[in-house]
Chain length 374, copies 2
Amino acid sequence: MPDKGAPTPPAGLEETDWRFMAAAIRLSRRHLGRTVTNPSVATLIVRDGHVVGRAVTAVGGRPHAETQALEEAGALALGATAYVTLEPCAHHGRTPPCAEALVTAGVKRVVGAASDPDPRVSGKGYAILRDAGIEVVEGVLADEAADLMKGYLIRSLKRRPEVILKLALSADGKIGVEGEGQVPITADTARRQVHMMRAEADAILVGIGTALADDPALTCRLPGLEARSPARIVLDRRLRLPLGSKLVQSAREVPLLLTAASDAEPARRAALADAGAEFFAVETVDGHIALPELMDDLAARGISSLIVEGGAYTAEAFLAEGLVDRLCLFVGPGEIGPRGIASPVGPDHIPQGFTKLREARFGDDGYFEYARAD
Amino acid sequence: MPDKGAPTPPAGLEETDWRFMAAAIRLSRRHLGRTVTNPSVATLIVRDGHVVGRAVTAVGGRPHAETQALEEAGALALGATAYVTLEPCAHHGRTPPCAEALVTAGVKRVVGAASDPDPRVSGKGYAILRDAGIEVVEGVLADEAADLMKGYLIRSLKRRPEVILKLALSADGKIGVEGEGQVPITADTARRQVHMMRAEADAILVGIGTALADDPALTCRLPGLEARSPARIVLDRRLRLPLGSKLVQSAREVPLLLTAASDAEPARRAALADAGAEFFAVETVDGHIALPELMDDLAARGISSLIVEGGAYTAEAFLAEGLVDRLCLFVGPGEIGPRGIASPVGPDHIPQGFTKLREARFGDDGYFEYARAD
């Protein structure tokens, strides 16, 4: 998701707390999509107005941010304030929980943003801190922090990934032309934003219609971020994806998951498997893949955030099932005309229950982002 | 795990129910290790003493057994008895829950074995059936059914995979000879049992010492079951696994996960990634990988059952952490002598809290299986 600009300090909040938490939230974004099943959390250790330790959850999800930031701060953590974008963990493993690490390091104040939805943790991390006599301020810029870890929060609470529906629309609300494959709608700056979204997501999904018409790679091709491509998922019940498609050709480098019905052709399945594709078993209802069940299975396999990139039929199916959490619309300046495929949504017809989160311009293209309010 | 032999009918249980449920449990074993994050469940639909529908959870985890068995039974399900090895699911997605499917099909009686630990489901499936006037008998051969879906149950309850520690011991309690790599301890029949265990597990783990000394492939090489090899995991903090090892050479065919510390050499990491290896970020405590955290992460990625195949150091670490759920000992007839590496456990020194589940002979080799009682 594009940067949201500088937040304004909410009323009643200390300027210093707001400023350091906003910085921590910006830092937490760094490893979005790279921390596997853990959220990308940031910690700042601040002493006398200076940052003496800073860290974000390591790539792969461990170690957590708090322990790394405390290690950097060393003895300077004594008497310092810690800014954490998520409540510190409280559950024991072989390593001490982060709440205990903060106590041991001697911080005197902890400012937290989002709360943990995990019932093993919720409230327990803050309780450990308070029991040790540490001053705790909860919920500072909580919404802003939660917005960046929506995938983790939704997967914990609903056992499915956060679903981000991304659509590129022409000025007259069309998403392409039937039978003509990919039609340029937005320009380079918007395209780079889309690739950044891909870098920050766990997986990206398209219907087989789009895969056949556009032959997309669905990878992140921003210079330096090529290794951050999300897993690609194609709704391909009958395994029609060609072996020569960009998706299959790159399956050895970037995971490719195909949702195949159990009666799909064994020979095609074997050929696709040889090329590196993996398969998700799906149930079908009236010939269509059961999306809620698929979301359940993706979450169980560790996928927390999923971008749906079309086409119109797939977008409509996700909307109809009430599975869309975030709607990202890129609107180009040109018109496609009457031959175009109408988008199921647009800035002037947003489904009920969604509220606008942000709006931006990328060159001549407009950007509109909405979140479901629940 | 090897077959447990014919169970004897418990007192007070109808002979028919016991017989059909035992058959259902045998059938449920067919897709062990192949149903991803769902359990391998079986359903028999029985009418007038004849099986009119039978199914096991499909490969990949969907569709569930009940709907498939009902489809096979068709109109014959009306008034029939359904035997289900796990409480039927009650949560709604796009497809109706299995409990509702049984109601719709008109079965008059449902006999269940294990209960579902998932709080979304527990008791709710049976409640749907009873509310519809169906006679429900719960808990028939519950332990036997649960034993085969321990991975699913443990992952649901403890958020970690079932850990199965497998060791091959000489008659004098040794597991190998220092510096000599793999020493033959057991014969072919026992070896095939081990490969069957691999086919039924999601993942298999060894320490880097064993990987270097033995150069194992850790695949299932039973004829016809080659495609059922589990994911291989090596505790390899410093990425010492050679590129020419069998594990790395087969990484394109069977997943290979290496647990690398974040400070492991980037160049080696890149070379191993090119060969198809994947990485798990780990935390270390005093230079050792934090196993409880690793188990947590494996479960979050969908792994429900994990075989630990050694060596002595790794076995001891899992035992010391209290992470072993099942202990499978293969004991060969020969002695290794004083140069051998002593096994941390043996049939005559089983850790506290374990009880013997079964015992068998494979040719000249003995087999002893223990489960932790909790």
